[in-house]
Subunit: 233 residues, 2 copies
DNA sequence: CAGTGGTCTAGACCACACA
DNA sequence: GTGTGGTCTAGACCACTGC
């Protein structure tokens, strides 16, 4: 089985995956150690290490010091979703993007918002509502709250021409985010904006972002009829 | 800035992130090369490489041979979702899991299914419907189709006690999967199973899996009222 | 305490993409 | 061509954790 080629960590990864698929290493069983595999494959331990590290990140195997490496019984697979700008999302569909501003106000953060993202009693927020269209059809309604203390300059931005989504991405970095998806019924007002019927289901995405512990923004994004979020893994 | 400690790739990663947040390296700008950074940080190039590679995987920076490394303008962030067994999902909530079998049949794959996952004219599929309960409240309705050719032994499995979800995970590996999420209205039948009203919105998850090009299974999972899928990144 | 994975190093060669 | 990232190596020490 000699070959002049060098062994790549991808080769090692594939071979390991094959052996798992073929039950040579059954789920739950202990795999050989890095040194042993390195000898078998004729490569450095670092190469085997990288292969196994990636498989562990992907949830295929489970590694523990001293205990060794085991094939996961119930591989907790991970699906990766891209979280793009709405504009990019729409343009990627080959559609023309249009932005429409709806409303703007500055107010003391309401109770539910303070609780949701962690703000003080007196903290002010900028509240923006707007729409994103694809080929002039309603695509997404955006309802966003921004912590003024995190970005005082926000008060001077003219959101009638640029979406808060876009401004934030280019001006305010964040370190942590929480995102969640659910299904909900559109109320009367939302129905008008999205050209839907009251009570119709819509896909709802909610996001909170922080920069090193300071809350930046909370946003609810309501997608129009027929929206699907898809990925491969 | 001498320190006796060795520099870890995590240190490098954090320092790079700080510089990006502080606009020392602005979005779109070219960062120093690996060799230069390795000298500055007093570590090996491999260490800087690992830090930058991970940042690239996370979508923070963009790397190209010869062209160098740039800070991403619109960081296409990735959110990772765990795709667990329903059982694990429910048990993680601290609830008691219960499985209920609804129906089973073997048939020639209907047109829409053949198109959806790529089956031949005569290919047979096993169709299973079942429910997953959390503390005896309806949690998820599962409507699953399994390619018999991919796993002939499936016909002998007694799905009245084990869920197809669980059986597949432990018996049939897969190499690729496509998953998508959407919002939809429950029809009359589904409403009865989920204890909801006809027309109420529900969160719908659809998944197809393949093993090296051979379609394994297509499943529609309808979640009950109030379901949210959440992650941090 | 001893074995396994986790990480760092210093050096080397390669592959790709831009000039 | 030539510079940058991509990867491999051989060796070393460390950290965690099961025994």
């Amino acid at each position: 089985m000699l070959s002049g080629e060098k062994i790549s960590y991808r080769d090692v990864k594939n071979e390991i995956l094959n052996r798992i698929h073929n039950r040579i290493w059954a789920p739950g069983s202990l795999m050989p150690g890095e040194i042993e595999l390195a000898e078998e494959f004729g490569c450095a331990r670092a190469t085997v290490n990288r292969a196994m590290r990636e498989l562990a990140e992907e949830g295929i195997i489970d590694r523990k010091r001293k205990a060794g490496t085991r094939v996961n019984i119930a591989p907790v697979r991970h699906a990766k979703f891209e979280i793009p700008l709405v504009r990019s999302e729409i343009e990627a569909l080959g559609a023309t993007y249009r932005y429409a501003f709806i409303s703007r106000s500055v107010e003391v953060a309401p109770d539910w918002l303070r609780a949701q993202i962690g703000l003080g009693d007196e903290d002010k927020v900028l509240h923006i509502e707007c729409m994103h269209y694809a080929n002039n059809a309603p695509f997404q309604f955006e309802d966003r709250w921004i912590n003024v203390a995190a970005a005082p300059q926000i008060l001077d931005v003219d959101f009638s021409t640029i979406s808060p989504n876009e401004w934030l991405v280019s001006e305010l970095p964040f370190s942590d985010a929480e995102i969640s998806f659910s299904a909900s019924a559109v109320d009367e007002r939302l129905a008008r904006f999205l050209s839907m019927y009251k009570g119709e289901p819509h896909f709802l995405s909610e996001r909170v972002t922080w920069l090193k512990g300071m809350p930046i923004t909370f946003a609810q994004m309501s997608y129009g009829r027929g929206y699907r979020m898809t990925t491969r893994y």
